[in-house]
């Protein structure tokens, strides 16, 4: 006990040269004292090591608690938020692309032809070449109807309706050049209700060759600006093109 206190006072204090000399002499001459000094230092070391080991263990628990308490779910939640945001963004991009992407002009033309140009009303009372042509057209006999309408128009080029149906028949038969020719001619005529430019635009949309879309766009704008027949449809198409 006395020796331990003496040893500690030596290490913790500021020994004078005489005290140092006396301490050294005791170590060198007294094995038992030297062992006590060694034990004191070893004991301090062991205690310091144990204190640090306890810290390490505390930090390990702290680390475990912290990771268990907050981050696992927070991280997964963060990831979920990121994934959700990415999905929303992706959906928004796809939706906006679908919504704003230019619709195929050929598709628009097909939809219109299928819904509006497959049958025409027939005058049940009368039976002339025009009615015959319309009946052929409605029956899907397009080549026959084309010949009938062309025949009527050749005989009387004031028969604008025959020219119109001849153009439509040619369009249905995918004889685009012929259809274009009829509709171009029709569009130049001074009629109360002239669908020439609209059908011309429709034919170009359906043909869908180089420059056709651009030409159709110009024609549809003219239809709208000049308040020609097909204006309502032309406005809708212009928004989608």
């Amino acid at each position: 006990m006395n020796n331990l206190e003496y040893i500690e006072d030596y290490f913790k204090g500021t020994p004078t040269p005489d005290e140092k000399k006396s301490f050294d002499e005791r170590i060198q001459n007294d094995t038992s004292f030297a062992e006590e000094v060694a034990f004191y230092v070893s004991g301090q070391q062991a205690a310091a090591d144990m204190a640090n080991d306890e810290r390490r263990e505390r930090f390990r628990q702290l680390n475990f608690n912290q990771r268990a308490a907050q981050p696992a779910k927070v991280i997964s939640l963060r990831r979920a938020i990121i994934y959700a945001a990415a999905c929303v963004f992706l959906v928004a991009v796809v939706m906006s692309w679908l919504f704003f992407k230019p619709v195929s002009t050929e598709k628009l033309a097909n939809q219109y032809i299928d819904s509006q140009l497959t049958t025409f009303s027939v005058n049940m009372g009368a039976h002339d070449n025009m009615q015959e042509g319309l009946e052929q057209y409605n029956a899907g006999k397009l080549e026959e109807s084309l010949k009938t309408f062309e025949s009527i128009y050749k005989n009387d080029n004031t028969k604008d309706l025959a020219e119109r149906y001849a153009g439509i028949s040619a369009l249905r038969l995918q004889q685009y050049d012929k259809a274009i020719s009829y509709f171009e001619d029709l569009s130049t005529k001074s009629l109360y209700s002239n669908p020439g430019k609209f059908y011309l635009a429709l034919t170009l949309m359906k043909r869908n060759q180089a420059q056709d879309k651009e030409r159709a766009h110009i024609l549809l704008k003219e239809v709208v600006d000049q308040n020609l027949e097909g204006k309502d449809i032309a406005e809708q198409w212009l928004k989608k093109m």
């Binding site: 170590i27 310091a48 144990m50 930090f59 390990r60």
Partner: protein
């Protein structure tokens, strides 16, 4: 399980600064553990950084970080930290060195590493001859047995010996353990040391 609330309270109430931590560690009262934990938590993100930067596994990064924090605590308590840099910079430098050690696989065993720290300080006050004699005797010490006896000595004794080895004065130990004076604490502590010696020799 460690109660995180007091540590969170310390860290959140004032957005704890370097000065808070340094003063908390140097105050050496019953709350010093909370400040050690606060220091640990404040820069715990170093572990993940170390993992990626040095390509070590999590356990090695955690171990390097724990050792770095312990070194900083010891240096702060013993006034070896001069406050010329921020705690973050200081800790990161030490953590970096520990990680490099892990990478090089040059880390010595913990006991050996810490032995150097205390033993050098203590033995440097003696003449070379005395130092050699004591060092040779220390080398014969069975540290595993000594630590085992230390863990068996009783909670109060262990606490006093660990606090003293950690740099706490007898006055501070008296306050923490509940003795009236520093002298009483010192007498009790030295009795514990003597008891440890007897247990070790048995």
């Amino acid at each position: 399980m460690i109660n995180l609330e007091p540590i969170k309270a310390i860290m959140q109430s004032t957005s704890i600064t370097d000065t808070d931590i340094i003063e908390g560690l140097r105050r050496k009262d019953n709350r010093h553990v909370e400040y050690e934990n606060a220091l640990y938590l404040k820069f715990a993100y170093f572990i993940e950084e170390g993992r990626h930067k040095y390509s070590v596994n999590y356990e090695d990064a955690f171990s390097a970080y724990s050792d770095a924090v312990i070194t900083v605590i010891n240096n702060v308590v013993n006034a070896n930290f001069q406050e010329r840099s921020s705690l973050k910079t200081y800790l990161y430098q030490i953590f970096h060195n520990k990680c490099v050690d892990q990478v090089r696989k040059n880390t010595t065993k913990k006991n050996e590493m810490h032995h150097g720290f205390v033993l050098t300080d203590a033995l440097n006050t003696m003449s070379d001859t005395s130092k050699t004699i004591v060092q040779q005797l220390i080398e014969k010490t069975d540290f595993d047995l000594l630590r085992k006896r230390l863990s068996q000595i009783g909670e109060n004794c262990k606490q006093m010996l660990l606090l003293f080895a950690d740099g706490f004065s007898d006055k501070e130990i008296a306050t923490m353990v509940g003795f009236k004076t520093a002298a009483v604490a010192k007498t009790s502590r030295l009795r514990c040391m003597e008891k440890l010696r007897h247990m070790y020799k048995q």
